[in-house]
Symmetry: C2
Subunit: 443 residues, 2 copies
Amino acid sequence: MSDNKKSPLVKILRVGLAGLGNVGAGTFKILEQNAKLIEQRTGTRIVVTAVCARNKTKDRGIDLSKVTWVETPESLIDLPDVDVIVEVMGGEGDPALSLVRGTLQKGKAVVTANKALLAYHGMELAELSAQNNAPLFYEAAVAGGIPIIKMLREGLAANRISGLYGIMNGTCNYILTTMEKTGRDFADVLNDAQNLGYAEADPTLDVGGGDSGHKLVLLSALSYGCQPDFQNLSVEGIDRLSADDIVIAGEFGARIKLIGQAVKLDDGRILQMVSPCLVPKTSPLAHVDDALNGILMHGDFVGPSFVEGRGAGEGPTASAIVADLMDLACLRTCGAIRPVFGAEPHDLKAAPSASRDDWTGEFYMRLVVHDRPGVIAEISPVLRDHKISIESLIQRGRSEDQPVNIVITTHETTGASLRQASEKIELLPNVLAAPLVLPILKI
Amino acid sequence: MSDNKKSPLVKILRVGLAGLGNVGAGTFKILEQNAKLIEQRTGTRIVVTAVCARNKTKDRGIDLSKVTWVETPESLIDLPDVDVIVEVMGGEGDPALSLVRGTLQKGKAVVTANKALLAYHGMELAELSAQNNAPLFYEAAVAGGIPIIKMLREGLAANRISGLYGIMNGTCNYILTTMEKTGRDFADVLNDAQNLGYAEADPTLDVGGGDSGHKLVLLSALSYGCQPDFQNLSVEGIDRLSADDIVIAGEFGARIKLIGQAVKLDDGRILQMVSPCLVPKTSPLAHVDDALNGILMHGDFVGPSFVEGRGAGEGPTASAIVADLMDLACLRTCGAIRPVFGAEPHDLKAAPSASRDDWTGEFYMRLVVHDRPGVIAEISPVLRDHKISIESLIQRGRSEDQPVNIVITTHETTGASLRQASEKIELLPNVLAAPLVLPILKI
C-alpha cells in the first residue's frame, strides 16, 4: 500500500481475500464505498491487498488493478502485506480447510462465511484459534444480514439460553412462501426457483435441510457451550410438503416453516433438529416471508428475543464480513473500545436537522366537527390551498347534537403543509378541536 | 474480595453499583445466578463489591452482607476495590451526572442504563470518555432486552443507515395494544395501566413521547455519526388518540404505533421525530404487541433488519448491563477476543444429545390413503397402541379411484411414539406412503 505512510495516525488492516464470487466481490465493494465511514468508526483503514480466485479476467464490477493476485489460496497466508484472511470460497473440505488451518497456525486472523467448514471442523479450528491466539470470526456464516453470532456471544451472553428457533435458509423459505401464495406444489415451485436463480441446480443442501443444519450447529454451540457436531442432529427437509399441507396448516392458525431448533430439555440434554414445523400465526417467526431469515431465542433474564433480516446474498453477507473485519481492526488499534457514539467525538457533526415539517408522505387527519351541512365545503378549500390532495374521506356517525369524527387521508404531501392547513382548519366555525395528524408509514 | 487469590488464573472485575431498584437488584441477581456461565464466557469473575442506595434495610431478595455500603454515589468512585461503576439511579441531572462525570474523569469505566442523562449530556460524557480512555457503555439505556447499541455500533457498522424506526416505550405500546383489543379510550386504559403498575403515577415522560425521544437521540447519533441532541427533535405523544382512530386505522390495513424515527433525507438532513404513526400490517413493527419493543433499520448493504424483545423490566435491562460488564471484562483480560464458540474449547462439552425422538409436543400427521371404508379403523388402533391421542382428524376430497389425504393432529406426545406409529401405519394395506409428520410449535 504505497500511501500507507501518508497518514501515520490512521492504522491499516490488510486483507487477503480467498474467493471472488458474489460475497467476495461484495466485501470488496463495501470496503471501497464505505471506506471513510469504516475508518471513522474504527480508526483503521481496511483494504484488500491480495486476492485468490479462479478467473482473473471475469468482470465483477470492481477495480482489482492495485491488488496482488496469487494462484493458490494458501499463498495468501505468508504474504507480508496480509494481516487477515477472508475465506469466502465455501465447502467443508479443501482448499478452505487447509487455508483456515494454515492461517490460524501462523497466528493470523481468519474471517469466514463458511458454515459447512465450521459445522464439520469447528472444534479443531477453535482449538487452533485458542492455541495460536488467532481470532476466528464467522458472523457471515449464519443468517448474513442478522448479527446473530454477536447477539449470542456478546449481546445476550449474560443469559442461559433455553430455546432457539430459526428460519435460516432463504431458498426454503422462499419456496414455502411461494407455495402458500400460489397454491402450487413443491416440485413446481422449486423448478421455477431454479430457473430464476433462487435455488441451486442441485438443491439438496438447501431443501434437504443440511444448510440449516450447518448453521444450527454453530448457534447451538454458542447457546449451550457445547461442541459443534453436525453428526449430532436430526435433519428433515421440505421436499415432502404439498400445497394441501400448507392450506390445512392455515386452517389450524399456523404456517409451515423450515425451523432449526436447539432446545434444552428438562433432563439437560440438548435437542438439535431441523424440520418443517407448524408455527402459530401469532409467532414472529410466522411472519418471516420470502427469502428472509428470522431467529427467536429465549434467555433466562432477557425473555424472548427475535431478529429478522436478509440471510444471504452479496450485500448482507459482505456486511457481516466487514463487521468482523471492523471488530478485528478495533481489537488491534483501540483495545476494542468503540467510540461512545460510534465515531470519535470530534468526528460527530451537529447534524443539519429536519423537523416534523420536513416529513414527506401520506397523512391521516381526524377532525371533530359539528355535523352540519357545509362542513366539508369549509375544510376542502383549505386543503386545496395548501396543495393537499385528499385520498379518502370518512365520516363516522350522524347526530345533530353530538360532534362527529371526519377522517381524511391524503396523498403524498409534507408535514409543513399539514401543519399550516391544520392551523387554519382549527379556526373554522364547525371544527371543535385541533385536527389530529398522523403520518402513514410505508415500511 | 477475600478469595480473589484462590484462583490466580481467573481475573476479577469489581463493580460499584449505584442504585438498587429493580434494575440494580436484577443486575446483582444475574451476576450471582449465572456466575459460572459468565466466568466461562469471559475468563473473569464479575462481582459487586460496593453499593449505594437509599434504603439499606429494604428486602430485595438479594444477599448484600458481603458488600460495602457507601452513603453517597460519588464515594464509590475512589474505592480501591471498584473497577467499574454501574449507574442505575436514573435522571438526567445529579446525582447521576456527577457520578458518571467523576468516574470517567478518574479513568474508570461506566456502565449506565440512563437514557435521559445521555440524551442531554451525551456529548460531554463521550468527550470525557475519549479523553480519559474510560469506557462508557449504555446497552441498557435503549430497549433493554434488545442489543440495539451493539447492533448499530458493531453488527451493522459496515453500513450507511438510511432509516431507523422504533417502538421504544413499552408503556405506550401496552396502552395502544389494549385500546385496540378492548375498544376503550386512552384515558380509561391509562388509568387501568397506572393501577396495575404498568404506567407511572405521572405518565408524562412515557405517554408524551419524551422517553422514546431520549432513546431515539442515542440511536440517531450511532446511525448517522451526529451529535446526540435532545433539543433537535419533534416529539408528540399518544394522549390525543381515541379508540376510533385505532378502528379506522385498522380499516386502512394499518395499526397505530408510537414510532421514533431517524431518517436521512435526500438533502442530507436528518429527521428525528417521535409521533404516533399508522404502520401497515405487513410491517414487522405492526406485530410488536403489548409491552414489547421493536426496531427496524435499513442499511445500504444489509437491507432491512428488524429486532424485537422486552424493552424494560428487571431481567431484560439487567441482562444488558451484564452484557456490557462482560464486554468490559473481555477488554481487560483477553484483548476482547471472545472464544470462537463462546467458551474456551476445553470448556465445551460434547452435549448429551437428544434426537427427534425426544421432541415432545403436538404433531401434524398427513396420510395418503385409498378412500375405502375402514381406513380410519385401521389407523386408529395403531395410534392408540402408541398412546397417541387424536386432537382432530380431517379427510380431504372423496374419490374411489384417487388417493386422498387424511390429516390428524395429536395431543402432546413424543417424536418416538410418532415415529414408531408411522412405521406401522406405513405398512397398512390402504396407506400409500410413509406418513408426513410435522411438529406443531407453540412459540
